[in-house]
Symmetry: C2
Subunit: 1006 residues, 2 copies
Amino acid sequence: MLNSPDFQTIIMSLQSFWAEEGCLIWQPYYSQVGAGTMNPATFLRVLGPEPWNVAYVEPSVRPDDGRYGDNPYRLQQHYQFQIILKPDPGNPQELYLQSLQALGIDLQEHDIRFVEDNWDSPALGAWGLGWEVWLDGQEITQFTYFQQAGGINLEPVSVEITYGLERIAMALQGNYNFRNIQWNQYFTYGDVNYQAEREHSIYYFEEADIDRLREMYGLFEKEADLALNKGLVLPAHDYILKCSHTFNVLDTRGAVGVTERQALFGRMRDLSHRTAEAYVAQREKLGFPWLEKPTIRGRKIKSKSSEEEQMNLPSEVNLPETADLLVEIGTEELPAADLEEALSQLKKSVQETINNLRLSFDEVRILGTPRRLAVHIRSLSSRQDDQTLVFKGPPSKQSFDKDGNPTSAAIGFARSKGLDTKDLIKKIVDGGEYLVAEVHEKGQSISDILPEKLTELVAGIHFTKSMRWNESGVAFSRPIRWLVGLFGSTEMPFNYAGLTAGRATRGLRFSSAEEYSLKNVKDYFSFLSSQGIIDDSDERKQIIKGQVAKLLSSVKASTDIDKNLLSEVNNLVEAPTALLGNFDRSHLELPPEVLVGVMKKHQRYFPAYDKEGKLMAHFITVRNGDDRHLDIVARGNEEVIQARFADAAFFMHEDNHHKLEDLIPKLDSLTFHPKLGSMRAKSKRVYDITRKISADLGLSAKDKKVAARAALLCKADLVTNLVAEMTSLQGTVGKYYALRDGEDLPTAQAIEDHYLPRQAGGIYPKSKPGLVVGLADRLDSLVGLFAADMSPTGTKDPFGLRRAAIGLVQNLMQWKVDFDLRKDIELVSSFQPAAVSPDQQQACFNFIVGRLRNILLEEGYRYDVVNAVLAEQGANPSAALTGVVELGKWVEKDEWSTIFPAFSRCVRITRDISKSFKVKPEKLIMDEERTLLARVEKAASVIAETGSIDAFITQIEQMVPDIDKFFDNVLVIDKDSAIKENRLAILQKISAMSNGLADLSLLEGF
Amino acid sequence: MLNSPDFQTIIMSLQSFWAEEGCLIWQPYYSQVGAGTMNPATFLRVLGPEPWNVAYVEPSVRPDDGRYGDNPYRLQQHYQFQIILKPDPGNPQELYLQSLQALGIDLQEHDIRFVEDNWDSPALGAWGLGWEVWLDGQEITQFTYFQQAGGINLEPVSVEITYGLERIAMALQGNYNFRNIQWNQYFTYGDVNYQAEREHSIYYFEEADIDRLREMYGLFEKEADLALNKGLVLPAHDYILKCSHTFNVLDTRGAVGVTERQALFGRMRDLSHRTAEAYVAQREKLGFPWLEKPTIRGRKIKSKSSEEEQMNLPSEVNLPETADLLVEIGTEELPAADLEEALSQLKKSVQETINNLRLSFDEVRILGTPRRLAVHIRSLSSRQDDQTLVFKGPPSKQSFDKDGNPTSAAIGFARSKGLDTKDLIKKIVDGGEYLVAEVHEKGQSISDILPEKLTELVAGIHFTKSMRWNESGVAFSRPIRWLVGLFGSTEMPFNYAGLTAGRATRGLRFSSAEEYSLKNVKDYFSFLSSQGIIDDSDERKQIIKGQVAKLLSSVKASTDIDKNLLSEVNNLVEAPTALLGNFDRSHLELPPEVLVGVMKKHQRYFPAYDKEGKLMAHFITVRNGDDRHLDIVARGNEEVIQARFADAAFFMHEDNHHKLEDLIPKLDSLTFHPKLGSMRAKSKRVYDITRKISADLGLSAKDKKVAARAALLCKADLVTNLVAEMTSLQGTVGKYYALRDGEDLPTAQAIEDHYLPRQAGGIYPKSKPGLVVGLADRLDSLVGLFAADMSPTGTKDPFGLRRAAIGLVQNLMQWKVDFDLRKDIELVSSFQPAAVSPDQQQACFNFIVGRLRNILLEEGYRYDVVNAVLAEQGANPSAALTGVVELGKWVEKDEWSTIFPAFSRCVRITRDISKSFKVKPEKLIMDEERTLLARVEKAASVIAETGSIDAFITQIEQMVPDIDKFFDNVLVIDKDSAIKENRLAILQKISAMSNGLADLSLLEGF
């Protein structure tokens, strides 16, 4: 690309641009930081109420991103350009986009996207919502509205914009390897930084001395604490940064286990929190002197008090009788799920609102794109229907005195309705005569009633995660930047989030008519259409589906399209245009899970499969915009995916130096939990447990061998580079590496299987060996961590024990494998490094059964049925499921109304008797006794044989007449205690039939 | 100042300026560094042959410059703007000055000066020569030609320019407190950095945990070593930087003693050296790929090979018979001492050169300013005098054969002189007849002979410290940037340092006619004069003296002017204009030594004293330039001095929290030497030794008390802030603080005195107690450190033992105090923590006597006289001096020629006889014996009484006739051994008379 700016010019241009906008130009920090966020110019300055606008370069060091200089994109040090705008100027996205233009980027030539990306830093106790900004599929910027830092809520919210300078330079210079970026006219980025990439990568990955780094960490932490104790905020912050960097190096060396990570994060967060509080206190003591400094203001935000006067309500007389209503909530890019959620909420609430307002209309349409939520009501009447309300007053008798004059009760009632007593009517209500007030309400004009309701409508939309941005303090998924309210051609203003609705809308970004003043509602749709915006979600989805299918066909690929991905992509664009990209065929050598993972998860690309289901070297992406300059967009996307694949290839290449089996000793470097040893120790336990339960579960000799081998290898991939990078592929990577190492397919499969299912609704283990290893692994985690007092509390579940327990019981149910949780918990306890107390075992058992209960309840089974079965069969989830299903069916049957009382009667009469009686046949004195006993004995043997609830209840059902007769004719509580005990013994036998199956006393109606 | 650029604009302007010039814009380093030099973009990139031009900001952290934000100038973190130009572009000063103009500085309004400031970094193994750049007395930039880094010679040399951004901003914005600098339109520097200054100062000075920092240092060092062992240059460098910063913090905490400092510096230097070597090896292995990159070229440098052809020698015919010759060597600003030295060398060498060339002339003038050395020769003839050279050939006899034909000897001789044999003449030489050749040499034109000689003349100037700058590889005090060679109006070109002399000269910097083409030699002087440049050093000195005196008079101050300062100032300006500045009277409360030290040493200001000798709140500085804008210049200078005084006041204020006596325990934190304990232990020894030798030296009871008290307190000021800052004031500060604490004046005086003399020629202790404490201190250091094997070797003398020994003997000589070094070394040894061996004591004694010998030799005493006296009186320097003086006089007298042989004869005959004989009077058989013996016995008693060499030699002189008679008439070696021994006994008595006085056998002629 000719005349494209070089790297240093990009930096200088950004400095100039933001200085012009009023930002203070700051310098990189003198400490190794992972991001500009950690520079005190961000981390501390975003705290407290004072305005602060700043811009600076930050060379950001992330040891585990090191790639020895071999990867075109990934660097252990990259250059960020960091902006903080505090408070939100109202138009930060626009400012940002202008800055890209200042760099010479023609925004119309590219696909620029704001892709949901929320940010949190456990070490800093900070989080925010925002986006990655994509330029042709490439992430070039992080854009975040900070909500919290150092554990403190931020008021006002700060906008953080973090440019990835290398990415921008690559895009501008049209080359896609950091080494080729022109730094100035003479030197490339590679010239000046390649060697650093190589050397630091070697140091971080291979050479850094773990023990010494741990010592450093400890020293830094103590100095931070010392500084905080003396109220020295900045020195403390410096040492926290040193802690953080040292932690990162340790992590890159693979020296930090899960627990240690948790612990260190916790300690850093605590220090950060103390630092943040100390900073705010310090500023407060100074009286927040910068409150007087000016802020950057893009758009004026109305203050609460001025809202009313600025609203220009339409005069009633001007309104037509009916017209279309349009309400548009213009937002910054909504996350896909939030868009979905908002549309569904609006569907419900709009309808309700209009109905409640007694407004007639033809049709309600709810429309939406990532940048707008719209309500379109056809032919809405401009006035409510009139109505008559009837209010009951005092009884007639008490309403008039003997002279016929209204009593004070009547007068008061009339006054309360704004009527005179003579307007009150006598009516018979509920058999008595009362005074009644009939109030005729004339329907109001929508100009009087709608604004308030529209505000409520918007305010009523709720999101799982919402954010504040300006001083209105309202929360939404992302900032609302404009509101449209139009009734026909008349403005229908309402207020929200510091904005007043009017006729100004916005089109597609970067289009020539980005802002547009609507003449009327109809104009809105033609405007959107002229911009290529498809505001109807379903329609848009179909269009995308068609475009994608067409492109897939063009390369002879299967046109099956992932529905979830389609839904997501549909929510990412306003004006979809699908395009085809290609990547180097050599990448097809990577495991398809890796390729697909990258394409779908990272890039939201549709992969292409041939008719045999094999992956092809193509992908489809859907840009936001028209079909001009698709070549540029495609080129950018291709470069991104190539780089990502190269990254994975790099890791696999590195990993090929070691067999999985040889990596096992390296598991020693990963701590599982201090009390439970390393991952290697855990791995050994899983192996031992697997061998034990393989036998118990009756695996074949061959399966036993496979399970044992898989158990041995199942954790080894945790210390591979590829898993370190793509954690979600643990197990899958193990599978591929096992095959690479010459392991047999069942073993490889079992390695992958032992993690399955990965999440609710995920696929289950395909093989029994995999199932068994997974059981062993999960049980070991559950028992061990309960023993280590790491049981989940509240929202805290650092080891994912909920997930483990759920996976455990789901697998057992899925595979219909009988299991004895109690026994196996005891077994697993015996393998733990420290004793597991009976209480801890019980707690663990209860926890697992608790998860099983939740699963069953979520499946829709009656809670009493679930409780009844779990009380007896909780230790065997698969059987419990069968029991719940069977019992669930019985309790719905008509016969249940006879079966249940009969059985219950037997139970109730015996349950408080602690002593167990034996039937003495010689003491049977009545036929009913004998008949029942014979029936009972037969039934017991049938039930024992099948062991099912079905059998049990069927037997009871057949027994009902005999039970009834028994109770009708036999007095159980005989004076002769021997006879009494004999009768009770028969009933105890009946009661006992449900043992091990269900505790029916827990059913409703018992 | 309106429209003056704010801080961030200054940075952005410098970035733009240097980017335009071809510099790569780099970023601050991610580690706490003391200066931009430590950024690898300087430290490593200056190594090796590859070109590299770079510019970057460096927030530089110097813990001990922290002032809690209270000092207007000093900051624990200041912002540097760093430039590296490699190789030297030829005009770096001009580029730099243009950059100042780019910042909006009107150079003509200010006094801009390049003040000698050489730089070295022990930790980096680096050094260079250059300047501080002063703007109105304020240092705003460091300008250095790097000669070495990491212990490696730099080829090419790099130019390093380091702007002090705060200083520049203050000057541009016209305010003189960092807190008030506008950073951008809204924020001041104080807004964003004051709190950091406060907090970090507290941390560095008061809170940093010394033990933990030491541990960190050790860990960092080990990681650096590890990285180097793996060939990882940059990771190693990072850890060296961490070492360096940690060291600085420890140092600021006062935790580093002299030896530890040495050791840590040594280790850091070693690591830096290894890093540097590894870097160069790495680049070499890559084939120095940047050799192909372009360099910045201000002026063309001629390569060696093209020199000849480019020289445009004047044609002989054009030259007038006589004319003035002008040679000017135009340089970047020479240091004062170098200018002095160059002028004196030229005075000698020019005269010699012209004489050797047989050129006639009227007068040779040697002129010079900091920017030029000039030779002006009036009425030089353009042609050498003719001459006839006579060469002696072979003897006539061998020159012709019997036929009279010339022999081959004659032919060869003639040919060797370019003559025919018939041109040879017969001449009587030394009594024999020879063939002689008379060669008539016509004088050559100066155009043929001068250029080479002028080159030699310039090359012949030598400096104590010289530097290289461009690829000509020549060394000079500072770069030579132009050469003028003019004979009348004709160019007289010659080559040096890649330049060819011509007619282009330069005037005063920033003048409108900075570059000027000379019409002729006369034009040169009128040009200089028009620029206000006084090129005659003596004349300039008189002018300055007059100006200064006039200004002093104007404030009624004494007009005594410090001669050394005057000489220095004279060498700092071309066009002197003195101006008066004032400072706040409140600063007069500071000790005058502090004020004067700052004014003279740092600022080269003339202080003003009133008629009573009391310091006044004025100073005189001499600017380089005319008298326009003197108000601006004065203002700047005033601010500088105010800030410096404020700095000193700050320290005194801090120090006032503690009495001197209370500081003694803090001396524990300063290590004197690991084997010798802390400074507190040393202080205790000095106290003990003082008490012991006070008695020996016969001090009065009162003086003894004073000495003891002073010894107790004498080192306490080492842990004061003021001494930490102004080390040269140790002792003086002690004096003031002692008085402040209520000590009596003699004690306070003795504290200061014990350091005296501070250097050769310095003032001596004023009081005997001070003398004694000083003796104790120096002897303790000498004996202790010799015992610790720290005796000076080669140029290494980290503890200044040479200085200590010299001070010791000088004081003894000055105070004429008798002393027994041997005895006192033994005494002092007994106080040392470890045993001092006899060998070590002897070595220490020899070392001290060696220094005494050197002093006496330097005073001009004959070496043999010195040796003779020291052989007997070396242990008592004062007596030795008297002895040398007396003996020195005797050996110059005529009588000596009789005295010395007589005495020598006695010595010679007896000296090899090891046995000592006793005179037996009964065996005296001759008168001569008896007479001599009587004479000898009388003399011996006289000598013993006075103990002087004078007495001894006077007695010998009187004895001469008797000695002569004795030898004339008495046969010493008699056959009778008793008689022989008796005679020898008399002579032994004579010989022994010199014992304890001098060993005359060491005199010449013995």
